[in-house]
């Protein structure tokens, strides 16, 4: 009998302890709210996308962990497709997961993630002086309704990659207009030195939105009205841009399969030595110079993208790059802030240039040495004319999809130029009106 009583008492104590633990939370951080105790070591998870073939992410983690004995950062590297990453993270964060604590997101996400409650408002978490390290343009892109939701970490932009050996051999300068680029491509293709003249991204995905928005800007147009109320693609500028892209495929300057090309396909075409010109991001530089992956090492040059004849040069370049967001359910906000403060400091930002071969977002770290470290990217970046995508609306994903699906349909010959643009405008206007 006493044995039964003892067991019951033990059970009651165990139950009370379990209930107590559940009520107070079992994690070390729960003991002192959002900060975690200063003496206990906490682990925060950092989710990033693959950047390039360099070891930048593990190197950054190792450097931080070495200098911060009370915080351990663990790294999770997701897939390359940014849309897949958005699906993964929105599912994970939307279901209340406390990890990842800090995640890398696209430049187009702040408005959408802020509205959906998937990112912490960072304006109150960081001191005002923290934001001085970034350019005003980078800060604006990371904001929604006046508050910051993303910490810019590295800068990315679109470039024209060219085969300097073949242009030199043909006695051609680097083209500054699209018309020159097509003419040069045809000349060099005619010699048999390359199969393709110009390779770019024409598949139905976010990359096509970038490619197309550059050409529309070159032709003097835009994707949406300045007040974000309607689509403005079905214009003279939009039609010129789409007609040009279709013609590159029809004339054989670009591969017939371009409507299925994303960055990896166009990069493969270029690094295999098949193409004279390529439009791609700065991350591609390191890959074109990696002998394991490229047959054109030492033969590549970088320049700003061309513009249309009669328009100001250089042409427009879409900006990209990575920004870091904080998970609203993270248990370690204090440590997240410590990590992001370090990540955007000059030491880590210098590593982005020296190891990652991409330009840092911290303007103080954009030194001549950093520009030298990242190769031609550093020298050319200052000459670019950056054009933004319409990311100020939470409906950006719908705006972009309306653009790339309709433009892709026209590129594949399944819709007329004006029909595709008119349809895109209609869908963009509907998306914008439903998001207000």
């Amino acid at each position: 009998m006493s044995g039964v009583r003892t067991r019951r008492a033990a059970l009651a104590i165990a139950t009370a302890a379990a209930v107590g633990l559940l009520a107070t939370g079992c994690s070390p951080a729960a003991s002192n709210g959002s900060g975690g105790s200063s003496s206990s070591k906490v682990t925060i998870n950092w989710y990033v996308q693959p950047l390039n073939s360099t070891s930048i992410w593990p190197d950054l983690v190792a450097a931080f962990n070495k200098s911060h004995p009370n915080i351990e950062v663990t790294l999770t590297v997701g897939p390359t497709n940014v849309d897949t990453v958005r699906g993964t993270l929105s599912t994970q964060l939307g279901s209340g997961s406390a990890t990842p604590d800090v995640y890398e997101g696209d430049i187009t996400w702040p408005a959408q993630f802020a509205k959906a409650g998937l990112a912490v408002n960072l304006t109150k978490l960081f001191p005002k002086s923290f934001w001085d390290r970034f350019s005003p343009g980078a800060i604006t892109l990371a904001q929604y309704k006046g508050s910051s939701y993303s910490v810019p970490s590295w800068t990315e932009a679109a470039f024209l990659y060219y085969r300097k050996d073949l242009l030199t051999k043909a006695g051609l300068p680097v083209p500054s207009t699209w018309e020159e680029l097509v003419a040069d491509a045809k000349k060099v293709q005619a010699t048999g030195a390359v199969k393709d003249g110009y390779t770019w991204q024409g598949a139905g995905y976010e990359g096509l939105t970038c490619d197309f928005s550059e050409l529309v800007a070159d032709a003097g147009g835009g994707i949406v009205s300045s007040d974000y109320t309607k689509g403005t693609l079905d214009s003279a500028a939009g039609q010129k841009a789409l007609a040009f892209l279709k013609e590159t495929i029809a004339s054989g300057v670009s591969p017939k399969a371009t409507p299925t090309f994303q960055e990896p396909q166009s990069l493969n075409d270029f690094t295999a030595g098949n193409a004279l010109f390529m439009r791609n991001w700065s991350y591609a530089w390191a890959i074109t110079q990696d002998p394991k992956q490229s047959k054109v090492v030492g033969k590549v040059g970088m320049a700003p993208l061309p513009s249309f004849a009669g328009q100001p040069t250089p042409g427009a370049s879409t900006n990209g790059g990575g920004g870091m967001f904080i998970n609203p359910h993270s248990k370690y906000l204090k440590q997240d802030v410590t990590f992001l403060t370090w990540l955007t400091g000059t030491e880590a930002q210098g590593m982005f240039a020296s190891v990652g071969k991409v330009l840092p977002a911290n303007v103080q770290a954009q030194t001549p040495q950093a520009q030298k470290d990242v190769g031609p990217v550093g020298q050319v970046l200052a000459k670019l004319k950056i054009v933004g995508r319409p990311v100020g609306t939470p409906a950006y994903s719908q705006v972009s999809r309306a653009l790339f699906q309709n433009v892709n349909a026209a590129l594949s010959g399944n819709a007329s130029v004006s029909g595709a643009l008119s349809s895109a405008d209609s869908q963009i206007t509907t998306a914008l009106s439903s998001s207000r």
């Binding site: 409650g117 598949a203 399969a257 349909a409 594949s412």
Partner: protein
């Protein structure tokens, strides 16, 4: 003799419980309910509860707040928006056409494969094991392999088409709606024909082979045997295969997601992809849930109509 054997093979087992059950049978039935209750509860929790929640979400505008999500009922607004969207009708058309074409092709070819295996006198086990390989492969992985095959620059499909003089020069298979549709059909059939074959092979094994001999003695040809004996006798297996395949084909997502990303344009965007975009790209939860519910409703209507049309026998019926 023939008709008796045929009937015997398609009529199910006798009813377990006659209308007037004895006390012992009633107790046994009650015990049966009691024993299955935990499993039924789990099924309800993991199946019915999410479905009910999806229906609820489809009637709500879901917004994020500081303390989590807020759900405010908006009636049928999400359904009205979805049904008024051109994208939904385009996706519904593609999904329906794809379902009809792919299931027809896969059942016809699957039946052929099943009949061949049924007639094999040796090596049946090896062939069955090999048949499982495509079915066992994860669709995302096989989809990626097929994307290499259909690649417009270095793809094997283009190479073969040119070598075999089907086309004079490489064609961009995934850049035109018909090509992309066929590519999806081929990749999907490669994976699912074995599944259909295995189900139908199971049905064929229950057919008394003496029936074929008797039919031949009566002068029946191959097609007559197929139409008058084989298909009627494996009707239940055929119905099972068709229902499974229709449910899977109507919910197709992973293959177009990897192989075509819904393109060119939105020519191969399925209903599931449309719902995925709304839910996980646009973070428009109510709207995405409405698309999911519309898709489920279409499939349920099909299943009910199909099963009634083909009068599926119930055990003891």
């Amino acid at each position: 003799m023939t008709s008796t054997s045929a009937r015997a093979s398609i009529v199910g087992p006798p009813a377990l419980f006659p209308p007037r059950a004895s006390r012992r049978a009633r107790i046994s039935r009650r015990r049966g309910y009691l024993l299955t209750a935990p499993a039924l509860l789990v099924v309800a929790l993991v199946t019915l509860a999410p479905i009910a929640f999806s229906v609820y979400l489809s009637l709500c505008a879901v917004t994020a707040g500081a303390d989590g999500f807020d759900y405010s009922l908006v009636g049928l607004r999400n359904y009205a928006a979805a049904l008024g969207s051109q994208a939904l009708w385009s996706a519904l058309t593609f999904t329906a056409v794809y379902t009809v074409v792919s299931v027809t092709v896969q059942v016809v070819l699957g039946l052929g494969v099943a009949i061949i295996i049924d007639r094999m006198t040796r090596g049946t086990g090896v062939v069955l094991a090999l048949l499982l390989v495509p079915w066992a492969m994860i669709t995302v992985v096989s989809g990626q392999l097929w994307s290499y095959i259909f690649n417009g620059v270095y793809g094997l499909a283009d190479y073969l088409l040119v070598v075999l003089h089907v086309v004079p020069a490489p064609v961009t298979i995934l850049s035109n709606p018909v090509g992309a549709f066929v590519a999806l059909l081929v990749a999907d059939s490669w994976k699912t024909i074995p599944f259909v074959s295995l189900i139908l092979f199971g049905g064929l094994r229950t057919v008394d082979k003496e029936l074929y001999a008797a039919a031949r003695l009566d002068g029946a040809g191959g097609w007559t045997i197929l139409g008058r004996i084989t298909i009627p006798l494996i009707r239940q297996s055929l119905i099972t295969a068709v229902v499974f395949r229709v449910l899977q084909a109507f919910g197709i997502f992973d293959l177009p997601f990897v192989l075509t990303n819904g393109g060119p344009g939105n020519a191969t965007q399925s209903m599931a992809m449309l719902a995925y975009n709304a839910l996980f790209q646009d973070l428009n939860i109510g709207y995405g849930a409405a698309i999911s519910c519309i898709t489920a409703a279409v499939v349920i209507v099909f299943a009910v109509v199909f099963l009634r049309a083909f009068k599926v026998e119930e055990p003891g019926g």
